[in-house]
């Protein structure tokens, strides 16, 4: 029931997910380009409402509420781009399906000092078939690796682009997003060619 919207002014909203391990720079990445700086929260309602508040191992946390990074870019009056950061810790995995549903694609940020932190994101998006791009966030103290070394260490195929970025730098973040959208386009056009 898509129907004619009676408001031609409602913009089309498109979402890109920013993922990666805890502390890899997702908040910085979103903040570098977003027009707004809000945080959106989510609570594990199912768990809370059935009274199963199992807080074992939650480091003294007494709530299952989590904050998500959330940014918006007005591309033009009828096209808005939303960026959502996935929560870093595994215990918030219940949110991922919601976040990723309908996403144009995903950026997986990684820190070469803790490369294994991005495995969960990588596995998740590959399983979901979400177009993704790996972005190595440059940390000043971190040893530099060739991107091909990173690819080897991760065991990802050539179909997944790997780029370097500086999550603090707006131009760099823009380039990552453009690269991701190119990747989405390439996949979409490839699919269209196959269907023909």
């Amino acid at each position: 029931m898509f129907g004619r919207s009676n408001r031609a002014t409602t913009p089309l909203a498109v979402k890109i997910v920013i993922s990666g391990g805890f502390g890899v720079g997702k908040t910085t990445f979103v903040g570098a380009i977003s027009e707004i700086e809000p945080l959106v929260t989510e609570a594990d309602l199912t768990e809370v409402s059935v009274g199963v508040d199992d807080l074992t191992g939650l480091d003294g946390k007494t709530t299952t509420t989590v904050a998500l990074d959330f940014g918006r870019i007005t591309l033009d009056e009828s096209l808005w781009l939303y960026l959502f950061g996935t929560p870093g810790q595994d215990r918030f995995a219940f949110l991922w399906d919601d976040l990723v549903d309908g996403a144009l694609g995903a950026v997986v940020l990684l820190d070469t000092r803790r490369i294994e932190d991005c495995f969960a994101s990588l596995d998740y998006f590959e399983e979901q078939g979400t177009p993704l791009l790996l972005a190595v966030n440059r940390f000043d103290q971190a040893r530099r690796f060739e991107l091909e070394e990173v690819r080897e260490a991760l065991g990802v195929g050539a179909e997944v682009p790997i780029v370097e970025c500086d999550a603090r730098d707006r131009e760099s973040v823009k380039r990552v997003l453009v690269d991701l959208v190119e990747q989405v386009l390439a996949r979409r056009l490839g699919r269209a060619a196959l269907a023909r």
Binding site: L12, A13, A43, L45, V48, G102, L104, L185
Partner: protein
């Protein structure tokens, strides 16, 4: 909270001998509608003191599927005169210009899941309309690329 007070069953509860206002700010809430003021920073901390599902009457499932966090919601002007209370009314006011479900959650300081249930109620009641999820056409993807590049 001071240490000399009786233990509460749940640390997030507002103690019965203390009002929410006393905890957060000196401003007393208007009777019956303490949560209606413009949200302050202190209110954010308070928001966690109320179990979120209370707002939805305990429901965690939206009446309507397909409401994504980025789904745009807009209210019909007529909905402003509808007999809606509290959060539902605020959503209708907010959505006089289109907003995403995520922005509604932020503005109302509610968890996403709660906002989603409330928006679904409003959609079902015919007070607001939401965009339906659809595959993004290739020309739009190209437009996204060009616009981001030109930012």
């Amino acid at each position: 909270m001071s240490e000399a007070v009786p233990r509460l069953p749940d640390p997030r509860m507002i103690p019965p001998w203390q009002t929410a206002a006393a905890q957060s700010s000196a401003q007393p809430p208007a009777p019956g509608q303490g949560g209606e003021e413009a949200p302050s920073d202190a209110a954010l901390a308070d928001a966690t003191l109320v179990r979120p599902f209370l707002v939805t009457g305990g429901r965690t499932r939206p009446l309507k599927d397909g409401l994504r966090i980025e789904t745009m919601v807009y209210a019909l002007p007529a909905a402003l005169s509808a007999p809606l209370r509290f959060e539902l009314r605020r959503i209708v006011e907010l959505c006089q210009s289109p907003r995403s479900v995520a922005e509604i959650a932020v503005r109302l300081e509610l968890p996403l899941g709660v906002a989603r249930v409330l928006v679904a109620d409003l959609v079902s009641g015919g007070y607001v309309t939401s965009t339906e999820p659809a595959e993004i056409p290739i020309d739009v993807i190209e437009r996204i690329r060009d616009r981001v590049r030109a930012l």
